[in-house]
Structure formats: structure tokens, C-alpha cells
């Protein structure tokens, strides 16, 4: 396994974790743009643009793009989050150049008006689909409550209203500002020919012009809030809690992830034994979410409405009994084994390594092997986890509950 990185004259960074033994390689453009980089009026533009990137370029029609993606036998897709938009493909080594040519061309889309109108309908369908699904907008509402006027409060998909009002011209302006080479990273993993990759990408992106794209970081100031929502067709009650936690650049994140695993993993955790194994709740979990400058510790419950209050009290008890029920050595050992083994099992496909390597580099400018990532978990002490646990008692909480009745 070898790591290489290079910066082109136009500011585009190219990084790769090279494994000559791999059967395939994965390539991805990581764009540092997402819902947090939008204005409130343009909420949803990053995600809408992600769809439009598949709709053709100056050289290719939308049909050409889709056919070529399939011609290469690729497994390809894209996603948009609060902080990034990623386009990726997994291909056989002999298709490296063709895949890069296509993916790079896609980064300079035609954004044709008629495609824009058709694709808007697809986005509205996607919004309707999520509106119909549990937890029926509770996550979006919790983010709005927790983050307030912080940009992380915005919905990745936008709303029906903002999507209906978006126009192709403002999308073009947004694209020009955010898809500049200095705001993109080309990430590769697996059986990569790095020298060839550099030569090709240099040629393919030579015309790209840097911009002043940036991102303002600031700490959110959450307040305690309880929000009730009613969704009459729902049969179960869904409750979500957001509290502060370490962010993606905070060294304490390993401690917080281990604590979340001990308290609320989907098997073997304290929550599992109290609520899921006993048949009291359909689902109950504690998990972390990390952003560039801040993070969350989240709790989730899905159960019958009549059992909700009792179950929720159990979750609160588990979260706040740091002093009464300290973490044991055995719990810590199990959590570490589970997390480290999961990382190794998940890393066998280059397509999975692409995201670990790409995220670490684009957000923290760091490359880590699986072994060194495991070390961070192995080194976490019981005292650190216990300290984190005890500190949960007085954290700010935004709680959103949605069910058939208020």
C-alpha cells in the first residue's frame, strides 16, 4: 500500500492509496460544497446540481454520459451531504483513463434549461419519498432546532418551495464558484497507475480556473428545545435527540465514538439489552455525527406510541448514569474489537477505502492507513471514556418527536 499526493498548477489536488494487488480501482471527485455552503433562498442547489452533473457536457449528451458510465462496466454514483458532494466510479484497471476522462468532463456540465426542468421533477419526487418515510422529517427538524441560524441547519434536499424557485442561471453561478479546481480533490484507491493518472488529469483539467471558494466555520450555539410533530398516517412514535459532540477534527472523536458504541450500538450495547433485546422498542440507538468544526451525539427511538414515554426515560437514564454505572473494561474491549474489526472488513473493497482516504484528506489533510486508524481506537483509555460519559449529564438537548398524535 502506497500513498501519493500531488497538487496541479490550477490548485487541483490528486491523491491516491495505491494497492497494486487490487482487482479494481475507484476514482472520485470530492467537491467541498454542500448544503452549508448555500444561501437560504438556494437551499437544495448543491444536491440538485449533483443530479444535473449527469445530464451532459459540451461534448456529451445526457444519454452519452449514462451509456459511457455503463460501457465502462462501472459501479458509479454520487451523493451530496451538508459538507461535500462526491462523484465516484469503480472500474477495472484497463478503464482508468476512460473513467477519468468521463468523470472530469462531467465536472464541467452543460446545465441545459430543458434538462433542468425535467430533473426538478425527479428532485421533487425524492423529497416526497423522504417526506413519506420515517422519521417523517424529524432529522431535518432536529438540525433546524439545534443549529438555529448556523448554516448546518439547512436541508440537503432543500424544500419543495426552494427547489421550485431555483433557476438554471443561479445554478450556473453556484457551479462556477464551487467547482473550481482549488475546491476539488481527485481521490483514487486500489490498482491505480498514479503517474498515468497525473498526466491525464493535468491535461483534462488544464482549462479549469481557480476561484475564491471558501467556507466560513463557526461554532453553533444550541439551546434546549422540545419539538412535537404530528404525522397522522404514522403508526409508531419516532424520537430523535441532538446534543453537542466532538467534530471531525477533534481528537476526542475516538472517545465519543467508542462511548456511543458502548451505550447505543445496534447489538450488545446498554441500549440494546434494555430496549431492543427485551422487545420494548423496535429500534433504539446512540450514535455520533461529525462536521468540520463541530459534532453531535444523537439518540434515536422508534416504538409503539403507548410505550414511548417509558422507553424514552430509559434512554435518558442510560445517557446520564455516568457516575452510577461506570464503563467496564470488558465493555471497552468489546467496543474496540467491534470497531477495529469492522474497519478492516470494510476496507477490502477499494470503493470503501476511497471514502476513508478522501474524507480524511479533504477535511483534515491527513492520510491514514487502516493500522494507524485502528491505533487511535486501541489507545483510548477507560478514564477518557468514563470522563466523556460523566460529562453527558448536562449537555444541551434538542428533542424532536413525531407520531400519529401530538
Amino acid at each position: 500500500m502506497q500513498f501519493r499526493s500531488e497538487k496541479l498548477d490550477n490548485g487541483l489536488e490528486v491523491i491516491a492509496e495505491i494497492n497494486p494487488e487490487a482487482f479494481s480501482l475507484s476514482l472520485g471527485y470530492f467537491v467541498k460544497t454542500g448544503s452549508r455552503d448555500e444561501t437560504p433562498e438556494m437551499a437544495g442547489v448543491s444536491h440538485f446540481l449533483e443530479h444535473m452533473m449527469f445530464k451532459g457536457t459540451a461534448k456529451r449528451t445526457a444519454v452519452d454520459v449514462n451509456r459511457e458510465l455503463d460501457d465502462l462496466g462501472s459501479q458509479s454514483n454520487a451523493y451530496t451531504s451538508e459538507e461535500q458532494t462526491v462523484y465516484y466510479m469503480s472500474v477495472l484497471p484497463e478503464n482508468q483513463h476512460a473513467a477519468l476522462d468521463l468523470l472530469s468532463d462531467m465536472m464541467r456540465p452543460a446545465l441545459r434549461d430543458e434538462d433542468f426542468q425535467t430533473e426538478r421533477q425527479v428532485i421533487l419526487e425524492e423529497i416526497a419519498m423522504y417526506d413519506d418515510q420515517p422519521p417523517y422529517g424529524a432529522m431535518e427538524r432536529a438540525a433546524e432546532g439545534y443549529f438555529g441560524d448556523h448554516p448546518l441547519s439547512r436541508r440537503v434536499l432543500g424544500t419543495k418551495e426552494t427547489v421550485a424557485q431555483l433557476d438554471p442561471d443561479s445554478m450556473r453561478t453556484y457551479h462556477q464558484a464551487r467547482y473550481a479546481p482549488n475546491n476539488l480533490t481527485l481521490v483514487a484507491a486500489g490498482a491505480v497507475d498514479f503517474d498515468q493518472l497525473l498526466l491525464s488529469v493535468d491535461e483534462l483539467t488544464r482549462q479549469w480556473k481557480p476561484s475564491t471558494a471558501g467556507r466560513s466555520l463557526n461554532q453553533p450555539v444550541p439551546r434546549n428545545e422540545d419539538i412535537e410533530m404530528v404525522h397522522p398516517p404514522a403508526t409508531q412514535q419516532y424520537t430523535l435527540q441532538y446534543s453537542p459532540g466532538p467534530g471531525y477534527c477533534d481528537a476526542n472523536r475516538y472517545v465519543s465514538r467508542i462511548l456511543a458504541s458502548i451505550l447505543g450500538d445496534d447489538s450488545g450495547s446498554r441500549l440494546f439489552w434494555e430496549l431492543v433485546d427485551t422487545g420494548l422498542a423496535e429500534s433504539a440507538a446512540i450514535f455520533t455525527q461529525e462536521f468540520e468544526e463541530c459534532g453531535l451525539l444523537c439518540a434515536f427511538l422508534a416504538c409503539a406510541p403507548e410505550q414511548h414515554d417509558e422507553n424514552w426515560a430509559i434512554i435518558q437514564k442510560i445517557l446520564t448514569q455516568g457516575k452510577q454505572a461506570p464503563i467496564t473494561d470488558r465493555e471497552l474491549e468489546l467496543a474496540k474489537n467491534k470497531i477495529c474489526s469492522g474497519m478492516i472488513l470494510g476496507s477490502e473493497r477499494p470503493s470503501n477505502r476511497l471514502f476513508s482516504v478522501g474524507n480524511a484528506w479533504t477535511i483534515r489533510r491527513k492520510y491514514e492507513t487502516i493500522q494507524s486508524a485502528s491505533q487511535h481506537y486501541r489507545q483510548v483509555s477507560i478514564e477518557a471514556v468514563q470522563k466523556e460519559f460523566e460529562s453527558l449529564v448536562d449537555r444541551t438537548k434538542v428533542i424532536v418527536s413525531v407520531g400519529p398524535q401530538g
Binding site: 494487488e21 487490487a22 482487482f23 479494481s24 449527469f54 445526457a62 444519454v63 449514462n66 451509456r67 458510465l69 455503463d70 460501457d71 465502462l72 462496466g73 462501472s74 459501479q75 458509479s76 469503480s90 477495472l92 425535467t118 426538478r120 421533477q121 425527479v122 428532485i123 421533487l124 419526487e125 425524492e126 416526497a128 419519498m129 417526506d131 413519506d132 418515510q133 420515517p134 398516517p233 404514522a234 403508526t235 409508531q236 447489538s267 450488545g268 439489552w273 433485546d277 427485551t278 422487545g279 423496535e282 429500534s283 422508534a302 409503539a304 470488558r330 474491549e333 468489546l334 467496543a335 474489537n337 467491534k338 474489526s341 469492522g342 478492516i344 472488513l345 477490502e348 473493497r349 477499494p350
Partner: protein, 415 residues
């Protein structure tokens, strides 16, 4: 592409399969038993699932909690499931812990404790899971499609029904385990980094003295055409559609699978292009091949807001029928390219290989190699696909919709 698949049959009828993938650090196995929902008494729907759950609540030297803790200690990723014909456990772990992991799996199936004080908890979990499907219309749509299309016996859901779950007793679970958890017809398939001789010795030690009789053959599965609508207060209407096709064990299966690929594999496939890309009708549309024994079907799904649901259904059906106009050479070329790539990439995952091997053996009684699959796919031509379509045109349609309004569907009534 060179590939070796080992096979070994224990005297009690259990089949042991292994595919070495020495370039990986992991191993993964599937343990498949011929015990499914069709074996449940008709007043105990859900019993197969409750029995499997109870088997994991204490077995061999382990209590319920010790099973979970031991698997977490070993860093094992696992899942278990019940289908119409099978009960299965799948586990993936680092190669060094294969033996202790397999010991736990063997204990779960062979030496369950069936602790009395855990039955209520298992029952409540199952009832909650059954109830939660009411909030998942897409899944509910497929559950109803299966019931409608395969009837009372073969259309059962692994979630069971409220009555069956309420009535299930510990005696029922013990009887189900005793009657249907047998080595005869069981399959243990392993893929990843392992030594075959050592693995066979472990399998013999763990399963060699297991006894049990073969099950009586079940009646033939046949599809039942028809349609139904479930009223639901949602923005989207969910459409689940099925029609007859050749099954996985049919000599022309790859022709049929090829046609499904033309319809639904990739972003240039016909359904994606016609329903989503050209018309923007849906976010999600797909078709897949499905087999229940000798009964093959193509299953389709589309989800769209209610006012556009009729058009979505009509375009979906018209797109399926457009196969009768022929297959373009370019479409076939893309299909072959996708299959070639996915066969190579399959070598990157021990989990996907172990479950595929178990499935292959259950259906075919053998494991086709990558070379063989590649040859079958390379042999497809536009003419052979069209000929296959005309020989086995879509018929015996089933349609289930969930949403505010039912849809018009001529095909289901004109059988």
C-alpha cells in the same frame, strides 16, 4: 479469473463448500438450512423467525448475552434470515477467528437452550417488527405482492402475522427446530482466506454427528395473477409489479436475466431512461429477477407522487413490452461489460461470494464458476434475447399499489 471451488459432502447429507480467496484477510460463511416459512403450521405464521431468534438466545455453552459478547469480542459481523424455503446465518470475520466463530454458529442451530423467560421478549420483538412495516409502504407493497402472487403457502412473509406470533409457544419453537433443522439439505459455504483441509476437519467435528431426516417434497410453486390496492395516506403511490419469467435453475436463465439487465441494470437501462431520465416521473424505478423454486418472476418497483402514478405504471409496462421490438447491439455490449466487471469485483468480497455459493447450491446443486458465467453471458446475442422474450413473453401479471388512489391495469384482468 482463475477460480477453485471445493465441495465436500458429510455422510449426514450436509454439503460443505469453500472458495479460497487468499488475497483477503477475512473469511465469511453462510449456513443455510432447509427450514422456511412454508414449513410453518398455518396457524403459526412467523414461527420460523421466532424459532431462529430463540436459537440465538442461548445455545451450547453460551447464554444469550454471551453469544452477543463473544461475537463482538471476535469482531464478527453477522446477520440471520428466514425465507420461504430456508433459514440462514451469515458471518464475516478476520481469518484468524474462523474456528471459534463457526463453533458459535453450530451451537445456535444444533444446541439452542430455548430459555423460557426469553420467549415473551422474542415475541414482542417480532410483533414490533411486524407492526413497523405499516410505516414502510414500499416494503409493505412487496409483502402484499408476495402474498398475492404465491398464495397462502409460498406467499408467506417471514414477519408472520399477529395471530401466529401471539400463539407461538416454546413447544412450537422446539418442535420446529427438531423437525426442520436438519443436516440433510443443509449447506455451509465459506469464502476468503482459509485452509480447505483444516476447514473440512472443523466442519466434520462440529456437524459430523448431526442427524435428521430429509423433508418431504413440497408442492410445486406457481404464480397467481391478480391485482390489489392498499389505501394509504401518502404523497407517493408505490407500485410493485410482477410477471412470469424463467427461474434460476432454467437452462435459459441467462437469457431472461439478460433481458432484465437491458431493462434495469445501470443508468442507461430502459426503465431508468424512459421513466426517470426522459419524463422525470420517479426518483426510483427498477426490475429484478426472482425465483421461488422452479417459479421465476421479474419484480418491478416504481414510486411516484399520486397524480403521476397512472402514467408511471403505463410507461413502465410499455417499456417492458418494448423488448419485443428488439435489443440494440450497444445495449447488449454494455450489459456484457457490466457483467464482466462485476465478476472481477466479486473477488473483493468474501461475504458476497459465500452467500452466492450457498444460493447457487440450493438452487442448482452446484456452483457455477466465473468462467462458466462469463461464457454464458458472452454467448448472448440480440437475436437470442429477442427469441427468448417471444418464447417467454411477460404474462400472469401481479400488481400491488399502495397510495391514495387505485390505478387502472388492463393486463391483470386479460390473462
Amino acid at each position: 479469473m482463475q477460480q477453485k471451488v471445493f465441495e465436500h459432502r458429510l455422510p449426514n447429507g450436509m454439503v460443505v463448500l469453500g472458495e479460497p480467496m487468499p488475497w483477503l484477510e477475512s473469511v465469511a460463511f453462510s449456513l443455510l438450512l432447509p427450514a422456511g416459512t412454508h414449513n410453518e403450521p398455518s396457524n403459526r405464521l412467523g414461527l420460523a423467525g421466532v424459532t431462529l431468534e430463540m436459537c440465538q438466545r442461548g445455545a451450547g455453552p453460551y447464554s444469550s448475552r454471551e453469544i452477543v459478547e463473544q461475537l463482538d469480542f471476535l469482531g464478527v459481523e453477522r446477520s440471520s434470515s428466514v425465507t420461504t424455503f430456508h433459514t440462514s446465518l451469515s458471518m464475516a470475520a478476520m481469518a484468524s477467528v474462523l474456528e471459534p466463530t463457526l463453533e458459535i454458529a453450530a451451537a445456535i442451530f444444533r444446541q439452542p437452550h430455548f430459555p423460557e423467560d426469553e420467549l415473551e421478549e422474542a415475541r414482542q420483538s417480532a410483533l414490533l417488527e411486524l407492526a413497523s412495516i405499516d410505516d414502510d409502504p414500499a416494503q409493505k407493497c412487496f409483502k402484499e405482492l408476495k402474498r398475492l402472487r404465491y398464495g397462502e403457502l409460498f406467499g408467506r412473509s417471514s414477519l408472520g402475522d399477529e395471530n401466529g406470533l401471539e400463539e407461538a409457544t416454546l413447544v412450537d419453537c422446539k418442535k420446529f427446530q427438531r423437525d426442520h433443522y436438519h443436516p440433510d439439505g443443509a449447506i455451509l459455504s465459506l469464502a476468503g482466506n482459509f485452509n480447505w483441509e483444516k476447514f473440512v476437519a472443523t466442519a466434520e467435528q462440529l456437524f459430523g454427528d448431526w442427524t435428521g431426516n430429509a423433508l418431504a417434497k413440497h408442492p410445486k410453486v406457481a404464480s397467481i395473477p391478480g391485482n390489489s390496492h392498499l389505501e394509504h395516506d401518502s404523497q407517493q403511490t408505490h407500485i410493485a409489479l410482477a410477471y412470469d419469467a424463467v427461474s434460476y435453475n432454467h437452462p435459459e436463465y441467462y437469457q431472461g436475466r439478460g433481458l432484465v439487465g437491458i431493462l434495469s441494470d445501470g443508468m442507461s437501462s430502459r426503465l431508468f431512461a424512459e421513466v426517470r431520465e426522459k419524463r422525470g416521473l420517479v426518483y426510483s424505478v427498477s426490475a429484478s429477477s426472482h425465483s421461488l423454486d422452479d417459479c421465476g418472476s421479474v419484480l418491478c418497483y416504481a414510486g411516484t407522487t399520486a397524480p403521476r402514478a397512472q402514467e408511471t405504471l403505463d410507461v413502465t409496462v410499455a417499456t417492458i413490452r418494448s423488448l419485443n421490438q428488439g435489443i440494440e447491439p450497444d445495449e447488449l455490449k454494455r450489459l456484457k461489460s457490466r457483467v464482466r466487471t462485476s465478476l472481477v469485483m466479486e473477488q473483493e468480497s468474501s461475504s458476497s461470494r459465500s452467500s452466492q455459493m450457498a444460493y447457487d447450491w440450493a438452487y442448482l446443486g452446484r456452483v457455477p464458476t466465473r468462467q462458466e458465467l462469463l461464457k454464458a453471458i458472452e454467448a448472448l446475442t440480440c437475436e437470442s434475447l429477442l427469441e427468448h422474450y417471444r418464447k417467454y413473453p411477460p404474462r400472469r401479471w401481479s400488481l400491488v399499489t399502495i397510495g391514495p388512489e387505485p390505478l387502472e391495469f388492463a393486463d391483470a384482468v386479460s390473462q
